[in-house]
């Protein structure tokens, strides 16, 4: 998985490429921990994300909890397979998906 970050003031865009699974989720978690301080809008670009497992969902849920306190979090360009996973797990109601 590749993590590409673009920060503009207090707005951060995180574009993920590849698979967000048990092996790669800890990497994203650590990365976010060190980069969301002071961020008021966190945007995930999933256009090149192929796959997400429950380990990936856990990271998104903790990021959402953090962002609920300090601003907003948005998911963009999730593919159909990832949307199915969000659906089944009720994440469609928790996350803001555009």
């Amino acid at each position: 998985m590749t993590i590409n970050k673009t920060q503009n003031g207090d707005q951060l865009v995180v574009a993920l490429e590849g698979r967000l699974d048990t092996t790669t989720a800890p990497e994203l978690e650590a990365d976010l921990k060190s980069s969301v301080d002071g961020i008021t809008r966190l945007e995930f670009d999933f256009s090149s994300l192929e796959y997400i497992s429950s380990a990936g969902l856990r990271v998104l849920l903790s990021a959402q909890k953090v962002m609920n306190k300090q601003g907003e979090m948005v998911i963009k360009n999730a593919n159909e397979d990832i949307m199915d996973i969000f659906d089944v797990t009720g994440f469609v109601d928790i996350l803001t998906i555009e």
Binding site: D21, T22, T23, E50, Y51, I52, S53, S54, A55, L57, R58, L61, S62, Q64, K65, N68, E80, D81, D84, I85, V88, T89, G90, D93, I94
Partner: protein
């Protein structure tokens, strides 16, 4: 005709890629549609990682994975065997997927995703082994 393949591998999280490679190779040969393949990958990851994290703790051990594909009415069946502590993942209560982010616990979703994405899931403890089977039918791509 039923085609069967199997893999015996150390139950360790860093072997996940090898497990998925084994599963994907067989599914691709059977012309399983990519969408179904992703659902199966998600389920395989959950089950294998569970075994890797809990079955033999603090020691390590092997997992044996038997995959069979019935060709006539395409269906894939994957069975995981391990000799770790008896554990029935299906006994775990389903998470409440209607709760808000604040109310949600981190985790507990893995086995639920497996149940939702597979047609059949079964667990048995037999001859000192955990035996977990999941099956899913698909229309050929």
């Amino acid at each position: 005709m039923v085609k069967t393949d199997e893999l015996t591998i150390e139950a360790a999280v860093d072997r996940l890629d090898d497990v998925l490679e084994f599963v994907d190779r067989n599914l691709e040969e059977a012309e399983c549609p990519p969408k179904v393949q992703i659902q199966i990958d998600v389920a395989v990851e959950e089950i294998f990682v569970n075994i890797a994290n809990y079955a033999y703790t603090p020691k390590t051990g092997d997992a044996r994975i038997v995959l069979s594909i019935a060709e006539s009415a395409p269906e894939v069946s994957i069975t995981f065997f391990d000799r770790g502590i008896p554990y029935n993942p299906l006994a775990k209560e389903d998470p409440d997927v209607t709760l808000s982010a604040e109310e949600r616990k981190i985790g507990g979703l893995g086995i639920f995703m497996v149940k939702k994405s597979m047609d059949v899931t079964e667990y048995q403890y037999k001859e000192g082994q955990n035996v977990f089977t999941m099956r899913k039918g698909f229309a050929s791509a």
